[in-house]
Structure formats: C-alpha cells, structure tokens
Amino acid sequence: MKRVYVSRDMASVALGADEVAHAFEAAGCEVVRTGSRGLFSIEPLVEVESEGKRIGFGPVGPADIAAVLDGSHEARLGDVAALPFFAGQQRFTFARCGVIDPLSLKDYAEHGGWRGLETARGMTPQAVVDAVKASGLRGRGGAGFPTGIKWQTVLDAVSDAKFIVCNADEGDSGTFADRMLVEGDPFCLIEGMAIAGHAVGASHGYIYIRSEYPFAIAAMREAIQLSAERTAPFTLEVRVGAGAYVCGEETALLESIEGKRGQVRAKPPLPALAGLFGRPTVINNLLSLAAVPFILAEGAKAYADVGFGRSRGTIPVQLAGNVKHGGLYEIGFGITLGELVNDIGGGTASGRPVRAVQVGGPLGAYFPPSMFDLPFDYEAFAQAGGLIGHAGITVFDDSVDMAHMARFAMEFCAVESCGKCTPCRIGSTRGVEVMDRIIAARDSATVVQAGRNWEGYLQKALNSRTPDRIDTGLEAQTALLRDLCDTMKHGSLCALGGFTPYPVLSALDHFPEDFGAKSPVKEAAE
Amino acid sequence: MSDENEVMSTEDRLIYMANQIARNVAALGEAEAVAMTADHIRAFWDPAMKQRIALLAAARPGALSPIAAAAVGRVVAL
C-alpha cells in the first residue's frame, strides 16, 4: 500500500490539503499528515514514498491524484529538500517540520528528539543555563534579550514555585513560524520547555496560544498528553488567548493567564523575579524555547558558530504578503533583506515591482528597496530605525499607498490598545484622525485613487474632520503626526504604543510623496 | 399588651440572678463557688438588692441553690 505525506498545516488546509488527503485515502493510500515544509507556493504538497525516498508533487488538487500516483503529474518536484528554497536553509529549529508526523513520538525520537532533554538532565541546572548563554541565543520575540541571562535570574531567585511560560501569542501579521512549529513539531517546544524547567527549577509550564490558531491549540494539547510521561515531573498546559494582540506583551500575557484583563504591567518588577502569580517566571518566545533542544543536543558551539555580529544562530524568516515564494526560511543571521525578498522570495506575487517591505509585523518599519542591502541582524536593524521583531517580512508592490499603511498602523494600535497608558489609549485614535486629515489634504491636491474611500470600520475616527477649528494643512498635520509619534514612542508603557511610530514614521520618511509632500510624484497606480 | 407576656417580678429576678451566678461558678467546686458568688454579689449588687436577697433567702427556703444560699448568708453576715 502506497504511503503519501500530506501537510495538516492550517495554511495547507486553507489551500485544500484536507480534500487532497481524503482523495488519497479514498484511493487506498496510507496518508501520513505532516506539518508543512514551509513553501506555500507548492502547497498542497504531496510526497509519495517509493524505495524509501519521498517524491514531491505540488501544488496538487483532489483531481490530480491519479497523475500523482502514476508519477505523470506535471507538478512533480522530486526530492523536496533538494529544491533551492530548502537547500539553502540552515534548519536547526525546523529540521523536523514538514517531515514527520507531528504527533508521533516514534517519529520524533527517530529524528533526534529528546536528545537535548536527556543531555540537559545529565547536567546541573547552572551548566544548562551556561550552555544557553554560550549559544548566544537571544529572545526571538523581538527585543533580542539574551535568553541565558534571563534564565540565570530565575535560577538564582529563591521561591516556593517557579514557572516557564511560552509566548505563542503570535499576532504579528507576516509571521507564522510559531504556528507552523506547534502544528508541525510540537514535541520540540515541549522538549525546550522541559529543559528550561530543569534549568531554573520550575515544575510547571504554560503555553499561551492565540485563539486565532485553532489547529495549533488542538495539536499542542494532544502533544502534551502524548508526551506527559516523557517530560514528567515537569507538567504543561495550554492557555488560549481571547482576541487581544497586546497579550503578546509578556506582562499582559501573564495577567491574562492569571484571569485578568490583559493590561500591561509596569516594570519593575521583572517577570524573572515576580512574574506569574508573583513567582519567578521564565517567559520566552516560542522560537527561543524551540531553539534550546538543538543547543543542548548539538552543543552551544554548533549554534553559536552560525550567525552575524552579536546575533548568533539561526532565525526562521517568514516571507509573506505580496511575495511569489512565500513561506518559512530558517537561516543564520546576516543574510540581507534583498536576498530574502528577491532571490529567495522571487519578488512580488503580482509581478509588479516591490515598493516596500515591512519587517517585524505591525510595529515594524517599512523599508524601500533602496535599503535592501540591510543584513538581518538586531543591531543593524535598530540602527536603520527598524526592528527584526518576529522576523516576518511583508512584501508590498508598487500599488501600495503608504499613507494608508501609516493610517492602518495607528488604527491597529487603536483596535488593540489595552487602554492603560494615555499615549497609546488616546494617541492611537488621534493618530488615525491626523492621518485622515493628511490623506484628505493630499487627495485634494493629487489624483484620488480607487479604493481609497474605504478606511476601515473604526467609526469614531471617520467623523473626526475639523477643517475650521484647527490648521488641517499638510505641514501642520505632518508636524503634529511627528509630535504624536514622539509622545507615543517615548511615553507609552509598552511596545504597542511605543513601536507604532516605527511603521508610521518610516512610511513618512521613506515615502514622503504618499503623504503629499512636494517630491517626485509617483506615476498613478492601478 | 399580650397577657402571655412573661416578665419576672423583681424578687424572682433577684433569686434568678443569685442562682445564675452560682450555677456559672459551680464548676470551681463548692467552696470556691460559694466564695466567688459571695464576692460577686458583694462587688456588684446595690445595698437594697443585698438586703432584699437576704430577706428572700429566709422567706423562701429552697428558692436559692445551696451555693447561692451559702453565698448570700456570707454577704449579709458581713
């Protein structure tokens, strides 16, 4: 009986993988549901096993199975791993993703699973923490804080209880690495958390997954049950978000687990000293924790040898938006933006010129192609007035209206603001209003473009024109926008209000013409 | 108001009070109980009440418990 591999990843399913899998089952094949390999232009992807090798076909529809089974299908890809998109990667964290049955303990063990945990349990907690320090691993949530140092603080803290919390509240548009790993290799995260528990003396962990990821929640819950014996006495539970982007902020996430409004806590105290339920808490991004098994299994050096400057190891870059070959690309730090977008991503899906990319989600900066030589590195991005964040890259073609995107950044902040601090609570709504005035002023001067009259559903912002009372001219409003961004950036309590100025100001600085500034008028789009 | 309204007469109340004190200190044993009861009446009762309980003790033998009776005897003997 033929064995075929079909992804159960939510994106693959959204593209019809379930129908394909059912068709193969109907045709009497043994269907193994895996995670996604991470290249969505070839999804739904089917890998047919013959002579111990896996031959890939994709994209494939339910109607194509006969052709796939007799090997005649024109979308034959051969050895998927050999495709350029995969051949160039350094898969440390995502090595198993797309290859194994995510909920098969057997597969996991056969593909190097649990070795990190075994090694760690053979070491003293301090030795484990030292290894993580030596690996140079930095927080993958965006701030890039050295993970080992965080662990050391928790290890040194004295308390009746300590906790490991995994931040899988992956809300940034353009990112899906957390989702893919949980759906494609959940035991890897479990192993990483168990190692963390051993390292700092915590016996219980929480994985906070956003409710927008139903597949990941189900996979994670099942994986925890399946591996409970393996990780004992360390225990884990899943907590599901409820539609609040701000809960991706670590202190808001802790409040949410405690059953409270997801409002940001002021720091100090640091969660490492007084975190969940007031106890010392390791709260790491999923990618940080998922990198740990490799570090323990292969050694800190193997991890640290890869990378660029102070950014060590690999980063699972996510190519998203209007890009031809979108997907997950794990690679050592240092690769440039241009290589990622043009060489690996293959430019836009629409075939139009790339005009801008946003790196790091809704709080990340927009970069024009003129800055594509920027290397993927925390420091380099910070210097360029941006951030790597969760390493998502969203590509836009030349039809994008950057003023609209700046407005959206403010609108998003308004929708997701927890409402605690004033710059974010009021500032984001005022930001939308200011952008509306700028756009109105601009459009009264330049050609109105199609699709521009719809500005989202934030009603309160729509009825906010004030032509007579205040100076609504471009100069005045642009100056006000800069002042507002200054107040939000330096006044906000957390990154939501504090980083929203990045997309807004980068759009304003790099694409002034969209803000009606007297500069090369761009040729009418559409 | 209600005929069934049962309120003690002053004399009944005095006897009741003396017996109640005695009952509450009885656990100390006869001797100490008598002393305690006597001290208590001496310390907290007004002269008229003391006189009256003494008369009552004489007029209504058995109304007072042994301890209370002994105590009253002591108070007025003084």
């Binding site: 809300g171 059953g259 209007n322 989600g361 969203t394 989202g456 | -």
Partner: protein, 155 residues
Amino acid sequence: MQQEDATRLIEDWTRTHGRTRDRLLPLLHMLQEEIGFIDDAAIPAIATALNLSRADVHGVVTFYHDFRRTPAGRHVVKLCRAESCQARGATAIEKAATDRLGVPMGETRPDGQVTLEPVYCLGLCAVGPNALVDGRPVARIDAATLDRIAQEIAA
C-alpha cells in the same frame, strides 16, 4: 432556562477544573463554546464560582474581543484585515465581502444568518487574503471565493 444551563455548566466545569481566578478565561471559553456567547445574566454565577466580583468578570469579558455578549449569526466569517493580507488586496476584498454578504464589518446581518468580523492575522500570511468561515480556514480569497462563501451562508 439558558441561565440555569449556564449555572449548571459553571458548577460542573469548576468542580473538575478548579475555582482559582486563573480559571476565568478557560471558563469563559467553555461557556461561549457551549452557549455561543457570554450572557450578562450568567456573570453573577461566574463571579460566585470563582469568588470574584461581578465587576471583575465584566471587566474581563469586555476586554477580550473574542467574548460575545450577544449571540452571533448562524455563520461567522472572520476576515483578515492585517498588512500581509492587505498587501494581497484584502482592502478591496473587505469592501466586496460587505457588499456580497450584505453586512457591514463587525456586525450581524439582520436576518441573523451571518456575522462578519475583522480578524488581525490568521498566520496564513503568504497565501492571503484569508478568512475563517465557521472555523474553517480559507486562503487566496477572490470574488469567486466570496461567491462560494455567500452560497454556503445562504444555505
């Protein structure tokens, strides 16, 4: 009747899952799963069960956009509005969807047949515009997809 249901559900659930405050979100998820929304009338029972004040619970319910205080339509379409989908034309699709489904974003159609809601990223960012239709992910939405969705909903 609904309220007794809720009270019983809350009792059964807390008996197995505990009564500590950190159980509030899981409890609310369960109720919404079972009943479809968080009835204001159920809040006193929730408060008693976890020994919180009604205000505590109300504050939490109203903070998280997932929790509905009124029933949703028979079908729920969550359409992504985030950047990656916008880069692939979501703004136009959103406009088309509201027209095609005959309900403004964030509202339930008067006939109760469908609720159209914004969602900010489903993690399908290379294959947008995306949506969750009654929990099922749909990618690369175009006019044709919208027609299919509209037909499902009409059914």
